[in-house]
Amino acid sequence: MQLTLTPAAAQDEELWNGIVDRSPHSSIFHLWRWLDITARHTKTTFHPLIGMVDEEPLCIVPLFVQKRGPVRFVFSPPPHAAIFGLGPLVAGWDEMLQDRRESVFEALVLETDRYIRTVLRAGYIHIALPYGFDDPRPFTWLGYSVEPAYDYSNDLSEGFEAVVAVMGRKSRQDLARAARRGITVGEGGRIEMEKVIDLMVERYREQKKMVTVSKEYLLELYDVFPGNIRVLVARQEDEIVTGLLDLHWKDRISSWIGNPKPHRRISPSPNDLIAYEALKISCATGFSEYITMSAAGNSRLHHYYASKFNPGLKVRYIVRSVPPSLRALEMVYTRLVKPVLTAVRER
């Protein structure tokens, strides 16, 4: 088996998206247009690579390059892009035997690493592998560090009754109380999405945090992918008090951005009602899985998300290659500079 990597150009969009479509690990984040928009808004250069296996286009590797001072960084995805997993994809993975999968992926990782080091000449590599992909070993064998990341997943294939059957009595009572107090949940469009983003910004400001994903970026994504972004908002007395942006891709829905805590105290939380409605709509519209991205890895929030609808735990991986000098600088930044900056902001 021979694998070669070649840079892709705009005219390869259809070929690229075809590979995305035929990979079981793909997400909407892998689509060419999404990546193109991401590169523009994150001030990175998009380096799309197509992997030919015995002259058949079978793999893609979306890379983003950024130069900071003398150092070139390679990311997949780039920072501040609201993308949880990206990295390489292999079409037809499910149809391959394990031995073939491992041979193809190991060759893909070897070639990608060679390309990054010799063509892109990057010193820092950070790749978050896609949801559902469980084999980062070829990166380990090349000396990358591997860190697991966690998501919650609800299986919807048994229908909505099965999803709500696991709810505790208090959760059910809370939903009924929320409805009695006039909280309603409904789908929205671009205007409602803007409002949800504004609420997120306000909530972050209250917590003395900075929102690193731009509103323009998210709205442009909505304009290009209106059918794949579902906006749910909770209203009380006609005012939007919180909301959630979900992403549709194939038979999966992922909760993406949202759930800001309302600025006035509302009990029970309208976010519980949104989560319930999101699952209900997902079941009614024929989706088979609901993914709560990233929450499971959060030591503060995991309990809230685990307690509602008894999700399963899914592991994905983040791989990194950082030279010792940069690792030392990174440690100084994360352990010293960043806490000081945060403390200054909080004053």
Partner: protein, 340 residues
């Protein structure tokens, strides 16, 4: 260090039946968690053994066998013991697979806190290393407690699809090798103590030739055979022209046949008995009601990957978790590793 809501006690011989009952009822428990295996391990490890029971009232919540030894006068905790030929140990959490996610997580986190309190506060350990068993793939409680965690991999074949389907999923070359070995007259049969010791001696000799400093003593394996020879340990031996040319030792536990110790590829022109040994072990597992065949630790070694993945197994995760009580001990450990 904050303690847990659970009690931690060191199990005694009188609690061995209750211990094994939890092990048998837990799909993520390995054969190495069995009480008698741990006793053999304790006798040969050179470390103090603490079979910890985490409980609330009279209910056992979890088990965690740990070994404590001094390195450069510093107490260190291990599960499994250092230089042990067993791969997996770490905690076994009762009812883990059947609990709701929220309860599962909170129980797991409290167990981790309780065991950490025992190791770091009561036993003054400065370094702790745990290796989990496959099935307990959630490393978050350890990460949140300050452990460095690394994912590790093993291969499992799903046997519920039946013997014929497992055979069809072998890559073609593996099927050809098996057929050729049969044609050339290689036979595989279940062995007893003699074959068991022959395999152990071959593997020990091979490890010594590779320059491995810490080769487990033969007595350790003899003790294991004395306890588990008539059940858990299954020996598969390959014969060719009246001579033993290969074989392996498997562990039969909780519906899984684990490939544990195997003889390296022999110098036989044109005949490779190892694929046939594996195939006969898989057939044995299918006929004895096993749901899976595990090629232990097979996924982590890039050199062995091609040999192990040709049976088309699934990848399963386990993990290592390492924690130092302070950065000083991390530096000491690094210096020690560089010197030794």
């Amino acid at each position: 260090m904050k303690s847990s809501k659970y009690n931690v006690t060191v199990a005694t011989e009188a609690e061995s039946a209750a211990w094994d009952a939890v092990v048998s009822a837990s799909p993520h428990a390995s054969p190495f968690h069995l009480w008698q295996w741990l006793q053999v391990e304790a006798a040969w490890s050179g470390a103090r053994f603490y079979p910890l029971i985490v409980s609330t009232g009279t209910t056992i919540i979890a088990l965690c066998p740990v070994f404590i030894t001094r390195r450069w006068l510093v107490p260190c905790g291990f599960s499994p013991a250092p230089r042990s030929p067993i791969l997996y140990l770490g905690p076994v959490i009762a009812e883990y697979e059947t609990l709701k996610q929220e309860k599962r997580e909170s129980r797991y986190i409290e167990v981790q806190k309780a065991v950490d309190h025992f190791l770091f506060t009561l036993m003054h350990c400065r370094f702790v290393r745990l290796l989990s068993a496959p099935g307990l793939d959630d490393a978050r409680p350890y990460r949140w407690a300050g452990y460095d965690t690394d994912p590790l991999y093993t291969y499992r074949l799903d046997l519920t699809v039946g013997e014929a389907a497992v055979w069809e999923r072998f890559v073609r070359q593996a099927r050809v090798t098996v057929k050729r070995a049969v044609r050339e007259g290689v036979t595989v049969s279940e062995g007893g103590r003699d074959e068991y010791l022959h395999i152990i001696r071959s593997v020990r000799k091979r490890l010594a030739e590779q320059g491995r400093v810490h080769v487990p003593p033969e007595g350790y394996f003899e003790d294991l055979y004395a306890v588990f020879g008539s059940g858990l340990l299954r020996v598969f031996s390959a014969d060719y022209k009246g001579e033993c040319v290969g074989g392996m030792i498997c562990l039969h536990h909780n519906g899984i046949l684990y490939q544990w110790v195997g003889v390296p590829k022999p110098d036989l022109r044109g005949v490779s008995p190892n694929d046939l040994v594996n195939w006969e072990a898989i057939r044995w597992a299918c006929h004895n009601g096993c749901t899976a065949y595990e090629i232990m630790d097979g996924g982590d070694n890039p050199r062995l990957r091609h040999f192990k993945s040709k049976y088309n197994p699934d990848l399963h995760i386990w993990f290592s978790a390492v924690r130092y009580s302070s950065p000083v001990y991390r530096v000491m450990k690094t210096i020690r590793d560089c010197l030794i």
